[in-house]
């Protein structure tokens, strides 16, 4: 039942640093998701847990026992590859049984003919045969047991890969983007299957993905990564509500969190848009507002003036993309600010509006470093500028 502890772990290939030094502790039984864009190092980290890639410096421990020099086989982990890596010449039954066969074969058993005979004999023993069938039943693979991987669909191969990992009863399950190659409906189905699986075996799952929806729905803890650097280690709620930096803020959540230039004024915080920032000599901040916290109101209702540019109807709701009035005067292209609204209840494209939001639903970030900062909540009535934040949002009359 190992806790996984990373202490000052780094990974470099020659002089290229792939993973910046980090230290994280993962208690047993977690569903840990490593989330990040391609090339951020999440798969490398996963492989380091498995022992498929070595560690450049630092230590990884299972339950306080350092495993850096442990061979792959000793670590008792299961690894599900993105491409499933099933043995093409073996049937599903043999694929699933493979790990069990390996524990029972002596080294010399691997000679060509001897190996085939010994394996066949072992496959017939009740212990192995029954276990394979039990697990196949659990993953609904029973009818496919005598097929070869080439004749299976993507989802079926996925389940065989899972079955193969289950059979070994490992103490840690490592999954490298297992759902990436599946189509959308299958992916949703497999997501819940994997969650259920984790609950039933009650072991640590480490799951790598670039899909933030998967991370948010499945994880008990998320490690967000970018460019080899760990951005945040937190629960999904925390990552969503209190992102550690602008990267996490924009990466998690769809549409992404809106980031608007802000400014500190004598202990208070007000929001402006780039270009109109008064030169007060104080450091810049970015204000983060989630689309669901942004309200599109009448142009004269107070709040930030903006023009509607894009309307996306997603069926359940409408996403409105607006460009702040101040932003259209700047040279650089600023991204649109997105707000969620109820269907039918909003201005049309091209119309002017004003954007309103709650003070306490904001996240504040330092503009230079991107890191989260904690602003003091300003006293009501201390607001120096009417274009700044509103205390309570006013909704449009229906």
């Amino acid at each position: 039942m190992p806790n996984i502890t990373f202490e000052k772990v780094t990974k470099s290939y020659g002089t290229t640093e792939v993973l910046r030094e980090f230290s994280v502790s993962v208690p047993d039984g977690e569903f840990l998701v490593l989330l990040g864009p391609s090339g951020c190092g999440k798969s490398t980290l996963l492989r380091m847990i498995a022992g498929l890639t070595d560690i450049t410096s630092g230590t990884i421990s299972f339950d306080d026992e350092e495993i850096n020099r442990w061979d792959v086989r000793r670590r008792n982990v299961a690894f599900v590859f993105q491409s499933y890596a099933l043995y093409p010449q073996l049937t599903v039954r043999q694929n699933i049984a493979f790990p069990m066969l390996m524990t029972r074969l002596k080294s010399w058993h691997h000679a060509p003919i001897v190996g085939a005979i010994t394996r066949r004999r072992l496959m017939r023993t009740p212990e192995i045969r029954d276990k394979v069938e039990a697990i196949a039943g659990q993953l609904k693979l029973t009818e496919l047991l005598d097929r070869r991987p080439a004749k299976l669909s993507g989802g079926q191969r996925q389940r065989v890969a899972l079955a193969r990992s289950l059979v070994r009863e490992p103490s840690i399950y490592l999954l490298d983007e297992p759902l990436s190659n599946l189509d959308a409906t299958l992916r949703t189905q497999m997501r819940s299957d994997i969650i259920t699986l984790q609950r039933s075996v009650a072991k640590t799952f480490v799951f790598v993905t670039h899909d933030q929806v998967e991370a948010m729905t499945m994880a008990s803890t998320i490690i967000v990564m970018n460019d080899g650097v760990i951005q945040q280690v937190a629960t999904p709620d925390e990552v969503y509500d209190r992102p550690q930096n602008t990267f996490v803020a924009r990466f998690v959540g769809s549409p992404p969190m809106n980031l608007v230039d802000g400014e500190v004024f004598a202990g208070h915080h007000t929001a402006f848009v780039g270009g109109e920032v008064p030169s007060s000599g104080l450091s810049g901040t970015l204000v983060g507002i989630r689309p669901e916290h942004l309200v599109v109101a009448d142009p004269d209702a107070g709040g930030l003036p903006a023009t509607v540019e894009v309307i996306e109807r997603t069926g359940a709701e409408t996403v409105i993309g607006c460009r702040l009035a101040a932003a259209s005067n700047t040279v650089a292209e600023t991204p649109l600010e997105f707000a969620r609204a109820r269907n039918g209840d909003h201005p049309q494209v091209g119309e002017r509006c004003s954007l309103q939001f709650h003070l306490h639903s904001l996240s504040w970030f330092d503009r230079a470093s991107g890191e989260r900062i904690e602003p003091p909540v300003p006293a009501i009535g201390d607001m120096p500028d009417p274009t700044a934040v509103e205390d309570t949002p006013r909704t449009r009359a229906i």
């Binding site: 070595d54 339950d63 026992e65 061979d71 086989r73 008792n76 080294s107 103490s171």
Partner: protein, 313 residues
């Protein structure tokens, strides 16, 4: 404590042992151990021994018992009366002649076979077959054909060109031997060139023909540059393979007449096993090996220079 041990699994020895991960070179070394060991005994060490033997005056009856004579064998070889000059000349003529003939024949065959015509796979099979014929069998049939009363002379006689002593005249013997060797090697050239030809992008060739280039020009400016690297590689292989060829010459002419077809490998074997002069034979072998090594290194350097030039462009 009990719970933490549960996550560890016993790994079967000897490949598991303490379960420590071993650096890459350990299993790699183990896998290479027997093959490399084998080659050391059968190839590397013998090469060293060859050099040593060439400095002795060993005889076949007691090969390991020769006395050290320094450069004595080499002095004999390089002295004016020795046959080394003729052997080297023969080797050069044989190697060049065979390579050129094989290349020419093979490339032409490839170009011909590359065209689609009825029965072209059958033709391709026939043209490929000589490579598969074992050397002895090829030599035997050509012996019969080159016989003074053989079919070749009969045809020549019908054409009133007179019989030729293909194998017993010093000049013709070399020609015959070159021809037979090229007959065996050309199919290889053909097959590899064919594969290279088929990788020529068809659109470029068609475009050039649409632009009005004749077939010959298309070949010269489109096809040839594309297959040239392959041809160069084959040329090197041919040179090395020809240098080695022993069976054809031995069965056809035995190295004669009067040593006119005696190449360096033929001379090596003869010196050591017919004249029983192991030390001298070893000296021949060292010279032959040296030539081969120079060729290989030369090609390697040429390749590298080509790569660098291509990279710098």
């Amino acid at each position: 404590m009990e719970a933490s041990i549960a996550h560890r699994r016993r790994v079967p020895a000897p490949f598991g042992g303490s379960g420590r991960a071993v650096p890459e070179w350990v299993p790699a070394g183990l896998f290479l151990l027997v093959p490399m060991g084998f080659l050391t005994v059968m190839a590397f060490l013998p090469l060293l021994k060859e050099v040593w033997l060439s400095f002795t005056n060993a005889r076949l009856t007691n090969p390991n018992g020769g006395a050290y004579v320094g450069l004595g064998n080499y002095r004999t070889l390089f002295s004016s009366g020795s046959e080394l000059g003729q052997v080297l000349r023969n080797t050069l003529v044989y190697t060049l002649g065979t390579s050129v003939l094989s290349l020419a024949g093979g490339i032409v065959s490839a170009v011909v076979v590359n065209t689609k015509f009825r029965g072209h796979s059958f033709v391709r099979g026939i043209l490929a077959a000589p490579w598969a014929v074992p050397g002895v069998a090829a030599a035997l049939i050509f012996l019969w054909m080159f016989n003074t009363t053989g079919i070749l002379n009969r045809i020549l006689g019908d054409l009133v060109l007179g019989p030729v002593s293909w194998l017993s005249s010093p000049t013709w013997a070399m020609v015959s031997v070159i021809f037979v060797t090229a007959w065996q090697f050309a199919p290889f050239v053909m097959l590899v060139t064919l594969s290279a030809l088929q990788s020529v992008p068809a659109e470029v060739a068609e475009a050039s023909r649409i632009d009005g280039a004749s077939t010959l020009s298309t070949f010269r400016f489109v096809v040839w540059p594309h297959i040239f690297p392959t041809v160069r590689l084959i040329a090197l292989l041919l040179t090395i393979w020809t240098l080695r060829r022993w069976d054809l010459i031995t069965v056809l002419t035995g190295g004669g007449p009067v040593g006119s077809t005696s190449t360096i490998v033929v001379a090596t074997q003869q010196q050591a096993f017919t004249y029983q002069n192991v030390g001298q034979g070893a000296a021949y072998a060292v010279i032959g090996g040296g030539i081969a090594a120079v060729l290989a290194v030369g090609y390697y350097l040429l390749e590298r220079r080509e790569l660098q030039r291509a990279g710098g462009r």
